[in-house]
């Protein structure tokens, strides 16, 4: 079972074409293992990206150093997965 402890989902809001282009470059960086839930598309359209804990600092530095606005949308994916698993267990027992 893959563990997502500490993985976060960031909502990134590029404000111009250049920032969209930078996000597309970020997406292509294989070692970061980013999972875009909503791909970068147009300025002012948010992109959602799941970032493994090990790469959080790299990604946040990348965004901040280029002035790309973002916020943390999900703090800890594993906590959400655990909650879902608990719900499923309760449902099965019921």
């Amino acid at each position: 079972l893959e563990n997502f402890a500490g993985d976060q989902v960031l909502r990134v809001e590029p404000c111009n074409e250049e920032q969209v282009r930078l996000l597309k470059e970020l997406r292509a960086l294989e070692p970061l293992q980013l999972d875009f839930w909503r791909f970068p598309s147009y300025p002012n359209e948010p992109a959602d990206v799941q970032v493994p804990f090990a790469c959080l600092q790299d990604v946040k530095v990348f965004l901040e150093s280029r002035g790309i606005k973002y916020c943390v949308m999900i703090e800890d994916i594993q906590a959400a997965v655990d909650e879902e698993r608990r719900e499923m267990y309760l449902n099965q027992r019921r």
Binding site: F4, F36, R38, S41, E87
Partner: protein, 309 residues
Amino acid sequence: ERGSSSFNYGAYHPLETIYQEMDNIVAEYPKIVSKLQIGESYEKRPLYVLKFSTGGKNRPAIWIDAGIHAREWVTQATALWTAKKIASDYEYDPSVNSLLNTMDLFLLVVANPDGYVFSHTENRMWRKTRSKTPGSPCVGVDPNRNWDAGFGGPGASSNPCSDSYHGPSADSEVEVRSVVDFIKSHGNVKAFISIHSYSQLLMFPYGYTCDNIRDRAELDNVARTAANALTSLYGTQYKVGPICSVIYQASGGSIDWSYNYGIKYSFAFELRDTGRHGFLLPADQIIPTARETWMGLKSIFEHVRDHPY
């Protein structure tokens, strides 16, 4: 859970339980529901379609698939609830009666069973198929970048490790090829609806190009009416428009293929999910999601029924 009357539609279930429930629905409503196998997944799991029909030969049909991106669990759950809804409303809801007296309906509840099982057992966030790529350590193809519509173009990755990898060639994934073969062999499909879930959108072609389709005005109108019907239940807001402008340019998508194949009424739903929950939509939102989606689906069905081409 030995029959569809006691089944808990408000919970997430493993593949076996979903397939069992499909059998239960067929057993309970044998006059209008039957089960067809249209193929096998890469890992040899059956691809089952529920056929809703009141008879007739090769009637015009509506195709619906759900869950092509495995992790979007609320889509498979919504499809299963919808199957039960159609079966149980027949003879009671004039709209369903009128539809099924005119057309057949095919519903693929789990379009990517390998991915679905993998998302239950190994990686909750898995979205691709599970096919192996020679020469790469990475597994799987994004099955909604694998259709023969602008294949390999913008918005799809050529990197097998990417979550949007388009695959080695169009229709390389057996899950995609099975649907294409079925639609082609049927030959009389008039609507093609693909159900996903993320960020509440109702879209029509194109995704691989930002050019407008010939039928844009009509499809835009149909989609807006459907979205309004959906919103009327709980106020869930949907954005409507072509894939390219509403979300992003993405090539190799299913509804672009179906439209180019001649199926005018091609739509994709992105169901209720703000992103705040990711793909982990709380179980208590499954039935509300299914209910509101049903309003939108029914609105599209009625238009398709009343506008033969």
